[in-house]
Amino acid sequence: MNCSEFQRVLPEIIESGGNQEQEAHLANCTVCSDLVRDLRYIAEVAKLLVPMEDPDPRVWDGIEKTLEREGLIKRKHMTRSAGRMTARIVMMVASMAVLQCLQQVLRA
């Protein structure tokens, strides 16, 4: 087996290993063993690549807008205004209670 023949079958055998003849060529040929070592090294470094970058905040803004438009989530300003409404009701109830207390005190 020569280098050409070995390298032609390399894509098929690089992960599963070769037959006796292919392994013998590899053991005795520095050109092919260097090549195999490099390819294996590249694959190993690639495995160590981790996600490094976060997307720009505008990506979430776009998602949120589309979700709102499609009705999958409620509009933020709706929930905000609902919150404001709740706060107003609480204030009104509280002030009415205070007024009632004052009236009772005045009557007494």
Binding site: E12, L39, P55
Partner: protein
């Protein structure tokens, strides 16, 4: 003897896929007092805040995948957005047979592939790369011992080299070597044969080897 068999033999060490660990289910904490599983359940019930929590947990990985596969920031942002939108539209159908991250990731890969298919890029470059090229011949030119790459690549160099790969090579390389997909999975996603996936990956690694050697030579010249 043992050292010789581990370094010289073309064997399974390349198959040990630590990249798969990136896909392994993890017990994540989504927010104080909320696990990822709970966030998924609440998102399935339409809890908007949990959508955002899930986005926060997975945005980096999905975006990195899109960026590495396309090599373009604007496209990667659009595709990240599209992947998460599809996720939220389909989240009610997630039954937990596979890990959530695996499910989301596969969805993101499909979004990117669909986009690239629409652009017509991979087909062109797959054909291009199928043509016999000079690299099909034996690599006698780079046979000297001090020429091996071992130990000389850093993350930045490799990221740059991947970026400059032709799209067809880049997609297969990212899916297999970076993301840890198997050839049968890639063949299914790309609609090609397993043999084609293997030969594309091989050519991608060969191209990267050349690119990395050029980078190293340029660095040496500058010194």
């Amino acid at each position: 003897m043992a050292a010789k068999t581990t370094t010289e033999k073309v064997t399974a060490s390349i198959v040990v896929r630590t990249a798969k660990a990136k896909l392994a289910p993890q017990k994540k904490t989504a927010a104080p007092g909320l696990t990822e599983a709970e966030a998924i359940q609440r998102a399935q019930a339409g809890d908007a805040q949990c959508f955002e929590i899930l986005y926060g947990l997975h945005k980096r990985r999905v975006y990195s995948l899109c960026l590495r596969m396309t090599g373009n920031t604007a496209e990667a942002e659009d595709l990240t957005q599209e992947a998460f939108l599809q996720l939220y539209r389909k989240i009610a159908t997630f039954r937990g047979e596979s890990a959530f991250s695996t499910w989301l990731h596969r969805l993101a890969v499909n979004v990117v592939l669909m986009h690239l298919r629409k652009k017509g890029l991979p087909e062109v470059s797959l054909e291009e790369t199928m043509e016999p090229q000079q690299e099909d011949g034996p690599r006698k030119d780079i046979g000297s011992r001090d020429n091996v790459l071992a130990g000389s690549i850093d993350r930045v160099n490799l990221e740059r080299a991947i970026e400059s790969l032709p799209p067809g090579y880049r997609i297969i390389f990212v899916l297999h070597d970076v993301e840890g997909y198997e050839h049968n999975e890639i063949a299914e996603m790309m609609g090609c044969s397993i043999g084609n996936s293997k030969s594309q990956l091989h050519k991608a690694r060969m191209k990267l080897r050349d690119l990395l050697k050029i980078t190293r030579a340029e660095k040496a010249m500058r010194r």
